[in-house]
């Protein structure tokens, strides 16, 4: 039997032989080689855009499904809540935080994680994905989408104990309709739950040759759903604030400050002569400006758009988008990016003047923060080193995906891709105005922190992973977010990376949302193209 070292020696010799036969580059080939791609540039860019937009929770339809509407039935009936609770074995979710919380001594890995496996509830044809989760009034509610039917529909799952989950039965009038519907975020409010997202045309009419159906269809609208108990849902009727002529609108996140709601997201509109982003191949290019967008509501039912057109939202020349919002700091704090997460060709740095021809191909971005005292008026936080690329790197993609708050201040998470490396990123701020970067453990082994949740006692959990090609990952912090420990990777728990481009991505996983109650954290996302729930427990690790 051949030994491992024999196999390695032979494989090393082949690699070295291949490298030795490679010609030494002559001339300044680096830049030209960077331009060359074995996949057409538009396809590479499209794939990258798809990845990034999925990562930031922006809904995208890749392809329509078959012609059959598939309704995934819940595993149990949904009526009386009490009948679905296994009364003897599982403690109900308690959303009231104890007034005094004792922080346990922190072991090397302060949490245990469990993947909840239920293909009947979480699976179906094509893809099901959870994008966010919220806990309120004894119910955990996860929202997302289901691509198993004729087109993409919004989807909701719920649990009374964090471990046993049910799917809210599909109702085409509530979760479906023409084109796609997707819930991107959910929040618990006094009257129940509010979910936000988007709906729109199934295919982008302006990208006829593109296989990617991009959300920035100008017939994409913001969408809101409401539930009094997390189980029975209604669609909030469309209002003018959800749409804008020749503009795509999407809500990425929503927060509740005790008296009202703030939803944030982005707008996508065609611009002439300015074009801050070019999409697609040369034929059928779409020039799009991306701006931040904010909505307000007192009850989750009646919504209005605020600060539209303000310079803080991006104006005509600077692409910006809000990915998340939290009630905290001076009132509200929203995070996102300036620039666009897009692997383009010509370099343009945020802040640079738009070229004379009005076209700038955005190839990098920096993290962006906005604050508001009341949710109505917004100010863009001034650029600072912590929001840019480490070490003064020239090119990179730095994005904040989520933000949360606790007594010590704000914690934002995201990712950083720069000259030298790519990694998960954490930012801390006492007030939403000044930010500090901290480097989590194994930051550069994992490229993404997608969501962050707060547990009592200044403890935080961050989760992440990109849905198409990565493992999921989870970090925890017990010291106000200053230091972070990554939970050891396990393929069974967090998914596996495919070993070649020809291999199916069926093992990939991502976690996109998280919420906590007491000593438990519920994280949601997608595993093997099914919706997935992970339950983390503080202080239960046995080392």
């Amino acid at each position: 039997m051949m030994s491992l070292d024999d196999r390695i020696d032979a494989a090393v010799a082949e690699i070295k032989n291949m490298a030795d036969q490679a010609p030494l580059p002559v001339g300044r080939t680096v830049e030209s080689r960077r331009r060359r791609s074995r996949v057409p540039a538009w396809a590479v860019a499209g794939a990258a855009a798809v990845l990034v937009l999925i990562a930031v929770g922006v809904p995208i339809l890749v392809f329509g499904g078959g012609d059959t509407v598939v309704v995934v039935e819940p595993s149990t009936t949904v009526d009386p809540i009490v009948t679905t609770v296994p009364a003897t074995t599982v403690a109900p979710i308690a959303t009231t935080v104890p007034a005094t919380t004792v922080v346990p001594v922190v072991p090397a890995t302060p949490m245990t994680w469990e993947l909840i496996d239920n293909p009947v509830v979480f699976g179906g044809d094509s893809e099901q994905r959870m994008t966010d989760v919220a806990v309120g009034d004894g119910v955990a509610v996860a929202v997302g989408l289901d691509r198993g039917g004729r087109d993409s529909d919004a989807a909701v799952w719920y649990s009374l104990d964090g471990s046993t989950w049910n799917r809210v039965p599909h109702d085409e009038a509530v979760f479906g309709g023409d084109g796609h519907q997707q819930m991107n975020a959910v929040v618990a409010v006094e009257s129940g739950f509010v979910a936000v997202g988007s709906e729109g045309t199934e295919r982008d009419p302006l990208a006829p040759s593109s296989a990617f159906v991009y959300l920035a269809s100008f017939e994409t609208y913001a969408a809101v759903w409401h539930s009094t108990d997390g189980i029975r849902w209604e669609r909030v009727p469309h209002v003018d604030a959800f749409s804008e002529a020749q503009t795509g609108l999407v809500m990425n996140d929503v927060t509740f400050d005790g008296s009202g709601l703030v939803a944030v997201g982005g707008t996508f509109h065609r611009t002439e002569p300015f074009a801050t982003w070019q999409w697609g191949p040369s034929e059928g290019d779409v020039d799009i400006d991306v701006d931040a967008a904010v909505w307000r509501s007192n009850d989750g039912i009646a919504w209005r758009r605020v600060a539209a057109g303000d310079e803080a939202m991006g104006g005509d020349t600077v692409p910006q988008q809000m990915n998340a919002v939290v009630a905290g700091g001076p009132g509200f704090v929203a995070v996102g990016q300036e620039g666009f997460d897009f692997l383009g060709v010509d370099e343009w740095t945020p802040g640079d003047e738009i070229p004379a021809d009005g076209r700038a191909h955005v190839t990098e971005n920096v993290a962006a923060v906005w604050t508001s005292p009341d949710g109505e008026t917004w100010t863009r936080v001034e650029s600072q080193p912590a929001l840019e690329h480490p070490g003064g790197a020239v090119t990179g993609w730095t994005t904040m995906f989520d933000v949360t708050t606790q007594a010590s201040g704000l914690v934002a998470v995201g990712r950083d891709y720069w000259d030298v490396d790519e990694g998960a990123a954490v930012w801390l701020s006492p007030d939403g105005l000044s930010w500090q970067r901290v480097i989590p453990e194994d930051a550069y082994a994992w490229p993404n922190m997608q969501a962050v949740a707060t547990s009592p006692g200044e403890r935080f959990v961050a989760v992440g992973g990109l849905p198409l090609y990565m493992n999921a990952g989870a970090w925890s912090s017990t010291d106000n977010g200053t230091t972070w420990i990554r939970h050891p990777h396990d393929d069974t728990l967090f998914g596996s990376v495919p070993s070649s481009p020809n291999e199916t991505l069926f093992g990939a996983a991502s976690i996109q949302g998280a919420a906590s109650y007491a000593d438990t954290v519920i994280a949601v996302g997608m595993m093997k193209q099914d919706a997935a729930v992970w339950v983390g427990s503080w202080g239960a690790a046995d080392g």
Binding site: M1, M2, S3, L4, D6, R7, I8, D9, A10, A11, V12, E14, I15, K16, M18, A19, D20, A22, L24, P25, V26, G27, R28, T29, V30, E31, R33, R34, R36, R38, V39, A43, V44, G46, A47, A48, L51, V62, F63, A211, F212, D419, V420, D421, E422, D442, Y444, A445, W446, P447, L468, Y469, M470, V497, P498, S499, S500, P501, N502, L505
Partner: protein, 175 residues
């Protein structure tokens, strides 16, 4: 003219300190990139990008004790990310109707490709440690210097990576 450049206006490779560094290190770094990327063309792109970055910052990079470590770190970090991204791109490509799949440049033997594919499937740090240890013949402390971690950490990654590789390939792991 004091600025380093690997090529003059006439296309002739120069003799600056960067040129010497480039010529002495390029193929070795390329081998590392091929192992980590699994694709020679992508590896060449990455390697050239890394050397281009080194050239841009040669005033700083050239002053390091081991500029080769800096370039290897860039390549090691970006190779894994790039490769994983490529997987996604290739899959996205496959989803497109009426379009083929990009070539994969299968120039290694099936056995070698199987091994490097298994290496690439390891967690990022294990993948990097194995490639640097065997392709560059670096010691654990040298690999640690490149990756910015301690020698014991490198040793742990190496042991775990080898164990996983042996299991996946169905071969005996010798100590």
């Amino acid at each position: 003219m004091t600025r380093s450049s690997n090529v003059g206006v006439d296309g002739v490779i120069g003799t600056s300190s960067f040129d010497v560094f480039f010529r002495s290190e390029y193929r070795s770094v390329l081998g590392l990139a091929i192992a980590l990327c699994g694709d020679r063309w992508t590896a060449e792109d990455l390697t050239q990008e890394a050397f281009a970055a080194a050239e841009r910052g040669w005033g700083k990079v050239g002053g390091l004790d081991r500029p080769g470590s800096w370039v290897r770190r860039v390549v090691a970090n970006k190779s894994v990310s790039r490769w994983r991204r490529q997987v996604a791109e290739a899959t996205a490509w496959r989803r497109m109707p009426d379009r083929g799949h990009p070539d994969t440049d299968p120039q290694l033997s099936a056995e070698a490709e199987e091994l490097w594919a298994a290496v690439r499937k390891l967690p990022k740090r294990q993948c990097q440690v194995l490639a640097m240890t065997y392709l560059d013949g670096l010691s654990t402390s040298e690999v640690g210097e490149v990756l910015g971690c301690s020698a014991p950490t490198v040793k742990t990654h190496l042991q775990r990576g080898r164990a996983t590789l042996a299991r996946q390939l169905g071969v005996e792991e010798e100590s």
